[in-house]
Structure formats: structure tokens, C-alpha cells
Symmetry: C2
Subunit: 291 residues, 2 copies
């Protein structure tokens, strides 16, 4: 049985085919252009693939309320042409199969819980820290939807001591995304994050912010694992620094071995590597098929 | 059909009987003493009540992992005699009925979602702000457990501008509980919170902290309603101040009418009033019965 997967990003779309074991058997990628053209390429790709279901993890914000007339729409994105666009309805018109539809980060969280580093666990958080910060929330074996959907990249954190950088988030200035996403690092230091040396003070500050946000998230929803992906997290020196910040902020209050001697296995990189996004969409498709 | 309910607090226990409509038909209350004596009184109360199930919402921290050998224990509480005590196992030995077991705040969240101000919604957060701060988390029709259980009263918030108060949390100093619970207000101003006039600056500062924590929680898990209970929230002037802080912190980023013109119905007092705790335990019992 073949499942289709669409990783619908704001910069590029990735389409692929996979199976129930989470194996990706084929994939293509193309730039995100106008929605008609882009979705046309998605439809062309799947036309002869004979998939039993299709899962889509999308950039957002999106409507994931199945009772809404706008279910399946990309909503208030500033991306030209995509605002209030019926992505899922367009694809449903082309293929009569079950569809899974969720945010890209929720998809990634589900993928990791199905085949990756959170396999077998009934909860995890998936942070992507790159051009923006997003958080996928998987709790009690379900993806969290709620009022809209999680937007945990915009939580407020305390400033690093002495820090005067005002942040770059157009809504909040110095929310987590505003101080810790790639563009924030570049604005703060005047060079691309990837060009900063591994021992630069930038990483200590970065870990301060990320660790603080994770500590508060651990307190609020008590996830069984926290997965950190995205371009910024390719800086592997961040992991021990972030774990230390989480430990410092919790200060022994939550009594769990995962947060003490087990923290190296608790705050971890994605297990699915470069296929994390596509596998997440695959997992959404599989879940849609199984109902 | 009758359901038993136990509101197991650190100061007092409330036991009661109710029905499937959430009506409390009988209740008694007694101080929390040594566990053997206190649980003895619970057992005596229910002995002739012929209940079909019993729900317990307990002070914590507690073990709510059904796969753990310590499931049903109160764990690392400093309360004399109660540390690592098998509360649920003791009660199970006395009554051969299904038992529900969760934190007091999770119980309250479930009660509100079943019969109260979040009735019919599949998610809500329940904050109690009193001698401590606790947060019950109900998401996608399930109470959140995870690694341990939510402890959202201890999240970190930014200081109120110019604030130098160090907070009173023994673990974190100035976490939310450390600056916003009743004892913090008393330590900060030198009088009991209940004695401060309604127009005192204390309430603006209080709303600043609570509103900030709620804004971050709304971003992370997108609840469909936020319920604020506990002694401090008897200060009704706090509600408009808190709503304003939430709106300011979100700054229009999350597009939902509930967070704009609907915010008066979004951040609200408990619908079950003084029976909120007991009704929550009743709901736990009912859920245990229905499996």
C-alpha cells in the first residue's frame, strides 16, 4: 500500500510516496509559486501514483477545524496569492482518497512519534528553529489543534542578562522567534548564523532563550520528549547548552529521571533527519486512512 | 446511578456523592491529617453510599502513569506523612468499583468541560490562583498527563517593569507562583491579598504576570477557553485587566474572534463555583465508569 505525502512549505513543496513502515520510496521538490501552479504540480505528481491516502503538512497559519467551512485553507499568510486559499479542497477535488491535513510542525511531531526518536511515546514537542520558530504539539496520542493551532514559536521569554537587542518579530519584537530564529541571529550579530564560530557567545544566548521556552513548555504540558530541528539546530553545540538551561530553569522541581540523568535522551535532534517533514506528512496520510 | 467524588486537598478533604448530570447530592468536609486517618474517614463516608465509581482529584505531585508500580501515589510532597503514600491503592482495597485519579486542577478542567463554562468544548485550561498556582490541561477531549503531569504554575514570566521583588517560590523564586500566588502578594505588599483595595497597584502587577503566562499558554496549546479560579481570582477586577494583558501580549498574531471581540467569554471564572473541585472529581469518576 502506498501513501502520498506533501510537505507544503512557504519556500518549496516536497511531494513523495511512502509506505506503512515510514520508508520514502520517491520524492520530488519544486519552488512554491502561485497556488494554482504549485498545486497543479502536486496533482500532476500524484496522478499515476495510485496512493491510498495523502497527508499534507503545511506552512501556516492554516484552518484545521474540520467543522469549519474553511477547513483546509491556508488563512492569513502574507505570502502573495496564498491568503485564504483552499489548498486541501483543491487537492480533494483531484483525488478521491482520505486526506490528512495539519501544520508542518504538527506533522513532524507525528512523524517522530510514529517512526522517529519519539516512537512508542504518547507525547512529544517538535520545535523547528530556522527562518522562523514553530512548535508541533503531540499529547496523549493526539495532535493538538484547539482554537486555531499551536504557535509556540511566539512565546515570550526573559531577556538574556544585559541584552538590549529588540528582536525582529513584526508582531512581538522580542518573542522567542524574534530573538532566536535565524534572521534574529543575523540581525543581532551582523552575519549569518551559519557563519558564526561554534564557540561564539551567540550560541550561549541562543540556548538561554530556547532553554527557557522549553522549560516553560515542559512545565505546562509535560511532554515525554522534546525534539529540536530546523536549520539553526544544525549547530550541534547548542544541544548541551540548551539542556543545561532547561535543567537550570526547572531547578529540580519536576521530579523525573528524564529531566535529570536522562536529559541527553530527552532533548534531542529529529530521528528522521532530512525526511522528517515528508515522513510527518506520510504519518498524517496513514492516520487519515486508518480513521 | 451514584458516583463518588473526593477532592483531596492539602488542607482539607471534601467527599461527596453526585449523579451523571453533575449534581452534588451530598458532601462532607474534614481537615487533611495523617493519611491513614484521613483515608479512613473517606472510606467510612463511602461505605454505605453504594456508588458505582469514585473519582479523586488530588493535591500533588502525584503519580498518574497507569503503567507505573506507583500509580495512584502522592509522590514528593513535603506534607508530613504523605510523601510517597499509596492513596489510590488504599482506597481501591476498600471499594471494588472503577476509580478515576488525576490532579486537582486536571479534575477541575474536566469538570468545567463536562458541566461548566467549557461544556461542549474539546479543550480548556483551568488555572487555580490561590495559595499556589496550578494549571489543569484538557486538550482534544483528554486530560494531559505526559512525563509527570502539568505544573504550569511554575512557568517563568518577565518582570513587571521596575519590579525588584524576588518572589517566594522555594524552587524558582520569581516563577509565576512565586510572584502571583496569594503568599507572594502578601510578601510583596505586607498585607493579605484580600485586604488590598480593588484599585491597588497590586492588581495591575498581578494581571501583568497572569496575562503573560496565559498568552504564552494560548500560543503553545491554543485552548478553546481559559478558566481562572482560586482565592485570588475572587478579585473580579482582575478579569478585565488580565484579558487586556493577554490581548497586548498576543498583539493580534493569533487570528481568532475568541481572542478579540470574544475575549470576555474566553477568559472566564469557573462555571461550577464552589463545587468546581468536587464536580471535577465527579467527572473523573464518571469517565472511569464509562472507560
Amino acid at each position: 500500500m502506498l501513501i502520498g505525502a506533501v510537505e507544503a512549505g512557504g519556500t518549496k513543496f516536497v511531494c513523495g510516496i511512502g509506505n506503512e513502515a515510514g520508508e520514502v520510496l520517491d520524492r520530488v521538490s519544486f519552488p512554491t509559486e502561485q497556488p494554482e501552479k504549485t498545486l497543479g504540480r502536486v496533482i500532476d505528481y500524484f496522478r499515476d501514483k495510485n496512493v491510498s491516502a495523502i497527508g499534507i503538512g503545511s506552512f501556516g497559519p492554516i484552518n484545521i477545524d474540520v467543522n469549519s467551512p474553511e477547513y483546509g485553507y491556508v488563512t492569513t499568510t502574507p505570502k502573495p496569492g496564498w491568503g485564504n486559499y483552499p489548498v486541501l479542497p483543491e487537492l480533494k477535488r483531484a483525488f478521491d482518497v482520505p486526506f490528512g491535513w495539519d501544520t508542518d510542525v504538527n506533522a513532524a511531531a507525528l512523524g517522530e512519534a510514529t517512526w522517529g526518536v519519539a516512537k512508542g511515546l504518547d507525547s512529544c514537542l517538535y520545535y523547528t528553529i530556522g527562518t522562523g520558530v514553530g512548535v508541533g504539539v503531540y499529547i496523549e496520542d493526539k495532535l493538538t489543534h484547539g482554537l486555531v493551532h499551536p504557535e509556540g514559536g511566539h512565546v515570550l521569554t526573559r531577556h538574556y542578562p544585559g541584552e538590549t537587542f529588540a528582536g525582529v518579530c513584526p508582531y512581538h519584537g522580542d518573542c522567542l522567534e524574534g530573538v532566536a530564529a535565524g534572521p534574529a541571529i543575523e540581525a543581532r550579530w551582523g552575519v549569518k548564523a551559519s557563519e558564526l564560530p561554534a564557540d561564539h557567545q551567540a550560541w550561549e544566548i541562543e540556548a538561554f532563550y530556547i532553554g527557557q521556552a522549553i522549560a516553560s513548555a515542559v512545565l505546562l504540558v509535560s511532554p515525554k520528549r522534546v525534539i529540536l530541528g530546523g536549520g539553526v539546530m544544525h549547530q550541534m553545540q547548542l544541544f548541551p547548552l540548551i539542556r543545561e538551561q532547561v535543567r537550570r530553569n526547572l531547578n529540580g522541581y519536576v521530579s523525573a529521571s528524564a529531566l535529570a540523568e536522562g536529559i541527553d535522551q530527552y532533548i534531542v535532534p529529529p530521528g528522521l533527519g532530512d525526511n522528517a517533514g515528508l515522513c510527518g506528512s506520510l504519518a498524517l496520510g496513514l492516520r487519515a486512512l486508518r480513521g
